[in-house]
Symmetry: C2
Subunit: 437 residues, 2 copies
């Protein structure tokens, strides 16, 4: 397309409503105002902000927003005839859901970064967009600035994705990275993350894995052409991860990460969030600090990784703007996106039936027969052992066992039984394992 | 979109013509045949192969292709009324260009993996697609299975990309990785790569950087909304990289990579392919063997990296199929893609004016005043020095200099002058530097 043709296409400006003006919203407004000429050239029509809906007109903001754009009447803004594109960056379920539905019904296209809403009630939104013949985009909802949803939806749509593993929560990755680097305990690392602004005052959504679980649901839905909601996702956070677990991982050349995992198993999917030991040679092990990365395994493409900043006002705004320009181009050309494909309609496999591998570290009595007793326990639960390492003597004797793959319930039952064994003084660390160890 | 709606949309099958049945083409045919049910559900219409154009009907192939699909009449195949989508995986300029133009003019959408053609004459193809109102996609042309063009075109379209650095040629990365890991010389590593099938019998296109230069042109065009052709790209291959260069990089915690670099500098772009020293802490340094990766810097998103397999039949076919499904969906919905945006129309900065940094390793006479003389030489060319390290004594005395940023011509002139200095016995290694050292 030449510049001339762009100009020829440039008819009426497109009106944009921004709902929410916090960390992300204020950056979206800034980028729209500062980048107007480039955006107009890329879209084929100018983008004009019709209003920015806020709760309080006088709240302090990261970016100065022209006062005449601010309004507390979000519903009125969405209902305006001259609003073609709506950016929802309020977060949470309501009023975000109601506003998005009103926008879609009025024929506007919507971009949202609202992973919680999408994971809870995405299909309602997808159907509303389909019915209205408009676009709904949400790249920013998972892994911030990293383009991952579009690659899954479009680039890999001719392939069969078999597994997605993501470090999709920067707060927990920061905490685990500190524990790994400095041997810090969980509480200490959390306190540091809070001090530096990587964790919120109430860190529950991050450290208990709720945020990652919402993203796992979205990733699984797109990767496997099915519908997965947050409540389908098995979830363990990182609050139980100890300095001992991290040291145990280190001793075997591994690192502990909180992963969002979506996996195809036959006709079913397994979707889960839990701490995992992965070998340091795995690409995901190199993701440090608050960075995010998503690792994708697929039949033909093989292994792919997407890496970048998963949060923050500017990176998230970059993803929002990418979607906004795409939707605006569609408006100019009278098109819409293909929408969510859920034809495969797969069952979600319960965690107990999901095949995993365990790393178990035991404090044991230093007696002949301990190893045999432990090995027998695994065997009786139908779990094969991949590797055993015995360390220390006397009161410090430790037995480290890495299992082969087995149903998670069988592994959990094995561990439960080990806890009751006479020779086992303590089950010091239990963690699932991903990647070749 | 529910399954029902998919079925409702599924009207007529879409006809596919595959041009070329080599390593990539045969995998495309296999995936189309084996994945037909999934592809039909994802597209909303079945995809049916109308024919596979080959040079010789009886040539040996990686995948068995039904004999009744094979034809030697590529032009006749493209001209068929029932061909809606054309896959061009012949490679080279002609007959590929003529066939693609015929296909576009007949209203078919085209997916091609032909980087050489796109880098030489892309605009002719883009304009033909625009004129015909059809799609032209080419994700597989750069970095094989890695989704990178679509992220640049769509995901980052609301952002300002400032720099793209890619390891986009697996052959040269394999060779340089071997040189780094085993201290091998270039010839030895090349011979091993040829033995293992990572390098062709005539490796010129890879080792002289022609392949990477074509990809650099495509990346620069998309990242900066402009038009860059292969002839605009400054190009140095890896044939001059010695074991000494690699050792010198190693000594400073760096590694040598062949990078395709596209950089925004004011209103201009710099596009180049040459060996580079990057610190081992840089994400690109971790890309081993024949893998590819593209590192993207942008104003709002910050740093992103895309990693995966850059070549091979199946990975490349995955990218082709992703494009094919997208084009097929467009056909079903009566849409087309937005096309290439070249509104920015940027000048390409000559290499001499491009700002770079040099690492220079000199064998020097062990005399007082050598360092001062060398430093003076840099200063006289207007180049500041970032770091100097003096090593060894007597006949083995070495001086390693890392410059600050300066115009490439000034750096080259400095090195040329150093070669003529009395105290300098040999300029042992000269290499550009990227990333914080």
């Amino acid at each position: 397309m030449s510049s001339n043709k762009t100009t020829a296409r440039a008819v009426e400006p497109l009106g944009v409503a921004v709902l929410g003006c916090g960390v992300v919203g204020s950056q979206v407004v800034r980028l729209l105002l500062e980048g107007d000429a480039d955006l107009a050239a890329r879209v084929g029509a100018p983008l004009e902000i019709r209003g920015v809906a806020v709760r309080r007109l006088d709240a302090p903001r990261d970016v100065e927003v022209p006062a005449d754009l601010l309004t507390t009447d979000a519903h009125g803004l969405v209902a305006r005839d001259d609003v073609d594109l709506v950016v929802e960056v309020i977060g949470g379920i309501e009023p975000a859901r109601g506003l998005i539905l009103e926008a879609l019904e009025s024929g506007a296209s919507v971009v949202t970064a609202n992973k919680a809403l999408l994971a809870e009630d995405g299909p309602t939104l997808y159907e509303a967009a389909e019915k209205a013949g408009t676009d709904l985009y949400y790249e920013a909802a998972v892994a911030g600035a990293i383009p991952i949803l579009r690659p899954l939806r479009d680039s890999l749509v001719g392939d069969q994705v078999t597994k997605v593993m993501g470090i999709v929560n920067g707060t927990t990755n920061y905490i685990l990275d500190k524990m790994d680097t400095y041997g810090a305990g969980f509480e200490e690392a959390l306190a540091e993350a809070q001090e530096l602004g990587y964790a919120e005052a109430d860190p529950t959504a991050d450290i208990e894995g709720f945020d990652a679980a919402a993203k796992a649901a979205i990733l699984a839905s797109l990767a496997f052409h099915t519908r997965v909601t947050a409540s389908d996702v098995y979830r363990e956070g990182i609050t139980e991860v100890t300095a001992g677990d991290v040291a145990s991982a280190k001793a075997m050349g591994s690192v502990v990460k909180l992963l969002a995992i979506a996996e195809l198993d036959g006709d079913e999917v397994s979707v889960r969030v839990h701490p995992v030991m992965i070998p340091r040679s795995h690409a995901l092990a190199t993701v440090r600090g608050a960075y995010n990365a998503v690792f994708v395994e697929s039949d033909s493409a093989g292994d792919l990784m997407f890496y970048g900043q998963g949060a923050g006002g500017e990176p998230t705004a970059s993803a929002v703007l990418g979607d906004l320009v795409t939707m605006a181009r569609h408006k100019v050309l009278g098109m819409r996106s293909f929408g969510e494909s859920a034809y495969a309609d797969r069952a979600v496999r319960p965690m107990g039936d999901t095949v995993t591998r365990y790393h178990v570290s035991l404090d044991v009595a230093d007696k002949a027969g301990v190893l045999a007793a432990v090995a027998t326990d695994f065997a009786e639960h139908g779990v094969s052992i991949n590797a055993v390492r015995q360390e220390g003597r006397g009161a410090d004797a430790q037995l480290v066992v890495v299992s082969h793959e087995a149903p998670d319930a069988a592994l959990a039952a094995t561990v439960q039984h080990l806890r009751e064994m006479e020779y086992v003084r303590d089950v010091a660390s239990v963690m699932r394992v991903e990647g070749a160890v």
